[in-house]
Protein backbone atom coordinates (compact mmCIF):
# COMPACT_ATOMS: atom_id res chain seq x y z
CA UNK A 1 0.00 0.00 0.00
CA UNK A 2 3.05 2.27 -0.08
CA UNK A 3 1.73 4.13 -3.13
CA UNK A 4 -1.21 5.48 -1.15
CA UNK A 5 0.86 6.83 1.71
CA UNK A 6 0.82 10.58 2.10
CA UNK A 7 3.15 12.45 4.45
CA UNK A 8 2.81 15.99 5.72
CA UNK A 9 5.20 18.00 7.85
CA UNK A 10 4.49 21.17 9.82
CA UNK A 11 6.66 23.41 11.98
CA UNK A 12 4.92 24.94 14.99
CA UNK A 13 6.43 28.28 16.01
CA UNK A 14 6.97 28.77 19.74
CA UNK A 15 5.29 31.33 21.96
CA UNK A 16 3.09 32.72 19.16
CA UNK A 17 -0.56 32.46 20.11
CA UNK A 18 -1.65 34.33 17.02
CA UNK A 19 -0.46 31.43 14.87
CA UNK A 20 -1.41 28.60 17.18
CA UNK A 21 -3.84 26.36 15.34
CA UNK A 22 -2.48 27.06 11.86
CA UNK A 23 -0.91 23.62 11.43
CA UNK A 24 -4.05 21.88 12.74
CA UNK A 25 -6.25 23.91 10.40
CA UNK A 26 -3.99 23.05 7.46
CA UNK A 27 -4.12 19.34 8.36
CA UNK A 28 -7.91 19.53 8.68
CA UNK A 29 -8.27 21.14 5.25
CA UNK A 30 -5.97 18.58 3.67
CA UNK A 31 -7.97 15.66 5.12
CA UNK A 32 -11.19 17.30 3.95
CA UNK A 33 -9.84 17.53 0.41
CA UNK A 34 -8.95 13.84 0.57
CA UNK A 35 -12.54 12.98 1.43
CA UNK A 36 -11.76 11.53 4.88
CA UNK A 37 -14.85 11.00 7.07
CA UNK A 38 -15.86 14.11 9.10
CA UNK A 39 -15.73 12.35 12.48
CA UNK A 40 -12.19 11.11 11.77
CA UNK A 41 -11.16 14.62 10.70
CA UNK A 42 -12.62 16.11 13.88
CA UNK A 43 -10.73 13.62 16.06
CA UNK A 44 -7.45 14.39 14.27
CA UNK A 45 -8.12 18.15 14.44
CA UNK A 46 -8.74 18.08 18.20
CA UNK A 47 -5.68 15.92 18.89
CA UNK A 48 -3.34 18.03 16.75
CA UNK A 49 -4.67 21.35 18.07
CA UNK A 50 -4.19 20.32 21.69
CA UNK A 51 -0.67 19.16 20.84
CA UNK A 52 0.06 22.33 18.94
CA UNK A 53 -1.12 24.50 21.84
CA UNK A 54 0.96 22.47 24.30
CA UNK A 55 4.05 23.01 22.15
CA UNK A 56 3.38 26.75 21.95
CA UNK A 57 2.74 27.13 25.69
CA UNK A 58 5.31 24.76 27.14
CA UNK A 59 8.00 23.89 24.61
CA UNK A 60 8.78 26.90 22.42
CA UNK A 61 7.31 25.15 19.40
CA UNK A 62 7.98 21.84 17.71
CA UNK A 63 7.00 19.73 14.72
CA UNK A 64 3.98 17.74 13.59
CA UNK A 65 4.32 14.88 11.13
CA UNK A 66 1.23 13.30 9.64
CA UNK A 67 1.19 10.01 7.74
CA UNK A 68 -1.98 8.91 6.02
CA UNK A 69 -2.23 5.36 4.75
CA UNK A 70 -5.11 3.03 3.97
CA UNK A 71 -5.71 2.09 7.61
CA UNK A 72 -4.97 5.09 9.78
CA UNK A 73 -3.80 8.65 10.21
CA UNK A 74 -0.60 8.64 12.25
CA UNK A 75 0.50 11.75 14.09
CA UNK A 76 3.95 12.38 15.53
CA UNK A 77 4.40 15.52 17.60
CA UNK A 78 7.91 16.36 18.73
CA UNK A 79 9.46 19.17 20.68
CA UNK A 80 12.74 19.93 22.37
CA UNK A 81 11.16 21.68 25.33
CA UNK A 82 11.51 21.22 29.07
CA UNK A 83 9.93 17.77 29.11
CA UNK A 84 7.30 16.44 31.53
CA UNK A 85 8.62 15.32 34.94
CA UNK A 86 5.51 13.34 35.92
CA UNK A 87 3.61 12.02 32.89
CA UNK A 88 0.98 10.26 34.98
CA UNK A 89 0.13 13.52 36.73
CA UNK A 90 0.15 15.46 33.45
CA UNK A 91 -2.35 12.99 31.98
CA UNK A 92 -4.85 13.70 34.76
CA UNK A 93 -7.85 15.79 33.74
CA UNK A 94 -7.64 19.25 35.31
CA UNK A 95 -3.93 19.20 36.09
CA UNK A 96 -2.10 22.15 34.56
CA UNK A 97 1.14 24.07 34.92
CA UNK A 98 0.05 26.89 32.58
CA UNK A 99 0.73 30.39 33.87
CA UNK A 100 -1.98 32.86 34.79
CA UNK A 101 -1.66 34.92 31.57
CA UNK A 102 -2.09 31.75 29.51
CA UNK A 103 -5.15 30.81 31.54
CA UNK A 104 -6.63 34.26 30.89
CA UNK A 105 -6.66 33.36 27.18
CA UNK A 106 -8.89 30.37 27.95
CA UNK A 107 -6.13 27.75 28.02
CA UNK A 108 -4.81 25.78 30.96
CA UNK A 109 -7.93 23.74 31.68
CA UNK A 110 -5.73 20.70 32.17
CA UNK A 111 -7.56 18.89 29.38
CA UNK A 112 -4.97 19.00 26.58
CA UNK A 113 -3.27 15.62 27.00
CA UNK A 114 -6.49 13.87 28.18
CA UNK A 115 -8.26 15.17 25.06
CA UNK A 116 -5.47 13.90 22.82
CA UNK A 117 -5.82 10.45 24.38
CA UNK A 118 -9.63 10.54 24.28
CA UNK A 119 -9.89 11.39 20.59
CA UNK A 120 -7.28 8.98 19.23
CA UNK A 121 -7.24 5.18 18.95
CA UNK A 122 -3.58 4.88 19.91
CA UNK A 123 -1.70 7.29 22.16
CA UNK A 124 1.87 7.08 23.39
CA UNK A 125 3.82 9.80 25.18
CA UNK A 126 7.55 9.77 25.74
CA UNK A 127 9.16 12.60 27.62
CA UNK A 128 12.52 13.33 29.11
CA UNK A 129 13.16 16.31 31.37
CA UNK A 130 15.50 18.75 29.66
CA UNK A 131 15.29 16.86 26.34
CA UNK A 132 11.73 17.23 25.12
CA UNK A 133 8.53 15.34 24.47
CA UNK A 134 7.30 13.06 21.70
CA UNK A 135 3.67 12.07 21.26
CA UNK A 136 2.67 9.31 18.86
CA UNK A 137 -1.01 9.00 18.03
CA UNK A 138 -3.14 7.09 15.56
CA UNK A 139 -6.71 7.60 14.42
CA UNK A 140 -8.06 4.54 12.59
CA UNK A 141 -9.82 5.00 9.28
CA UNK A 142 -11.55 1.64 9.59
CA UNK A 143 -13.11 0.76 12.92
Amino acid sequence: MSASVLQLHYDVPGDDFTRAGEASSAIKNKLKQMGIAPDVIRNVAIATYEGEINMVIHANGGTIDVTIDADAISLVLKDTGAGIPDVELAMREGYTTAKEEIRALGFGAGMGLPNMKKYTDEFELKSEVGQGTEVNMKVYLKK
Binding site: K28, L105, G106, F107, M111, G112
Partner: protein, 109 residues
Protein backbone atom coordinates in the same frame (compact mmCIF):
# COMPACT_ATOMS: atom_id res chain seq x y z
CA UNK B 1 -32.58 25.62 13.12
CA UNK B 2 -29.97 27.26 10.95
CA UNK B 3 -27.53 29.90 12.16
CA UNK B 4 -29.31 32.52 10.04
CA UNK B 5 -32.61 31.78 11.83
CA UNK B 6 -30.96 32.49 15.17
CA UNK B 7 -29.23 35.61 13.83
CA UNK B 8 -32.67 37.05 12.96
CA UNK B 9 -33.98 36.64 16.50
CA UNK B 10 -34.41 39.57 18.83
CA UNK B 11 -31.27 40.52 20.72
CA UNK B 12 -28.76 38.85 18.39
CA UNK B 13 -26.23 40.87 16.47
CA UNK B 14 -24.10 39.54 13.60
CA UNK B 15 -20.35 39.92 14.13
CA UNK B 16 -19.30 37.66 11.27
CA UNK B 17 -21.30 35.74 8.71
CA UNK B 18 -19.52 32.57 7.65
CA UNK B 19 -21.81 29.74 6.58
CA UNK B 20 -25.20 30.94 7.83
CA UNK B 21 -26.89 27.83 6.42
CA UNK B 22 -25.08 25.72 9.01
CA UNK B 23 -27.46 23.67 11.15
CA UNK B 24 -27.37 24.24 14.94
CA UNK B 25 -27.57 20.88 16.72
CA UNK B 26 -27.47 22.07 20.34
CA UNK B 27 -26.00 24.64 22.69
CA UNK B 28 -22.85 24.47 24.80
CA UNK B 29 -21.69 26.96 27.46
CA UNK B 30 -18.05 27.17 28.55
CA UNK B 31 -15.04 29.48 28.49
CA UNK B 32 -12.21 26.97 28.83
CA UNK B 33 -11.01 26.17 25.34
CA UNK B 34 -9.81 22.60 25.88
CA UNK B 35 -13.00 21.82 27.73
CA UNK B 36 -14.99 22.94 24.69
CA UNK B 37 -12.69 20.98 22.38
CA UNK B 38 -13.19 17.84 24.37
CA UNK B 39 -16.86 18.08 25.27
CA UNK B 40 -18.87 20.24 22.86
CA UNK B 41 -20.60 18.07 20.26
CA UNK B 42 -20.03 18.96 16.58
CA UNK B 43 -22.61 21.45 15.36
CA UNK B 44 -23.07 23.09 18.77
CA UNK B 45 -23.79 26.77 19.17
CA UNK B 46 -21.04 27.79 21.59
CA UNK B 47 -21.87 30.39 24.23
CA UNK B 48 -18.81 32.08 25.66
CA UNK B 49 -17.27 35.36 26.75
CA UNK B 50 -13.95 34.39 25.16
CA UNK B 51 -13.69 36.59 22.07
CA UNK B 52 -10.11 35.94 20.95
CA UNK B 53 -8.62 34.23 17.92
CA UNK B 54 -7.95 31.05 19.85
CA UNK B 55 -11.70 30.72 20.37
CA UNK B 56 -12.10 31.01 16.60
CA UNK B 57 -9.50 28.26 16.10
CA UNK B 58 -11.36 26.02 18.55
CA UNK B 59 -14.64 26.65 16.70
CA UNK B 60 -13.04 25.61 13.41
CA UNK B 61 -11.36 22.49 14.74
CA UNK B 62 -14.24 21.27 16.92
CA UNK B 63 -16.84 21.94 14.18
CA UNK B 64 -18.80 24.48 16.20
CA UNK B 65 -21.72 25.88 14.16
CA UNK B 66 -21.63 29.37 15.67
CA UNK B 67 -19.80 31.27 18.41
CA UNK B 68 -22.20 33.39 20.45
CA UNK B 69 -20.62 36.06 22.63
CA UNK B 70 -22.83 36.24 25.70
CA UNK B 71 -23.48 39.37 27.78
CA UNK B 72 -22.06 41.53 24.98
CA UNK B 73 -18.55 40.22 25.64
CA UNK B 74 -15.90 41.89 23.52
CA UNK B 75 -14.39 40.23 20.48
CA UNK B 76 -11.02 41.52 19.34
CA UNK B 77 -10.09 42.53 15.79
CA UNK B 78 -7.65 39.64 15.10
CA UNK B 79 -10.44 37.22 16.07
CA UNK B 80 -12.86 38.83 13.62
CA UNK B 81 -10.20 38.78 10.88
CA UNK B 82 -9.56 35.08 11.50
CA UNK B 83 -13.29 34.33 11.56
CA UNK B 84 -13.70 36.08 8.19
CA UNK B 85 -10.78 34.17 6.75
CA UNK B 86 -11.99 30.80 8.07
CA UNK B 87 -15.71 31.34 7.55
CA UNK B 88 -16.66 31.09 11.21
CA UNK B 89 -20.10 32.37 12.26
CA UNK B 90 -20.05 34.80 15.21
CA UNK B 91 -23.08 36.36 16.87
CA UNK B 92 -23.31 38.59 19.90
CA UNK B 93 -26.09 38.99 22.44
CA UNK B 94 -26.66 40.99 25.61
CA UNK B 95 -28.32 37.95 27.20
CA UNK B 96 -26.39 35.73 29.63
CA UNK B 97 -25.09 32.38 28.32
CA UNK B 98 -27.73 30.35 30.17
CA UNK B 99 -30.68 32.35 28.83
CA UNK B 100 -29.33 32.18 25.28
CA UNK B 101 -28.75 28.45 25.55
CA UNK B 102 -32.29 28.02 26.86
CA UNK B 103 -33.66 30.00 23.91
CA UNK B 104 -31.73 27.83 21.46
CA UNK B 105 -32.96 24.70 23.22
CA UNK B 106 -36.56 25.90 22.96
CA UNK B 107 -36.11 26.67 19.26
CA UNK B 108 -34.72 23.18 18.67
CA UNK B 109 -37.39 21.27 20.56
Amino acid sequence: MKVKDLALKDGFEVINEGDFDREITGAYCCDLLSWVMGRAPAGSAWLTVMGNMNAVAVAVLADISVIILAESAAVDQPAIAKAMQQGVNILKTSKPAFESALLIHECLS
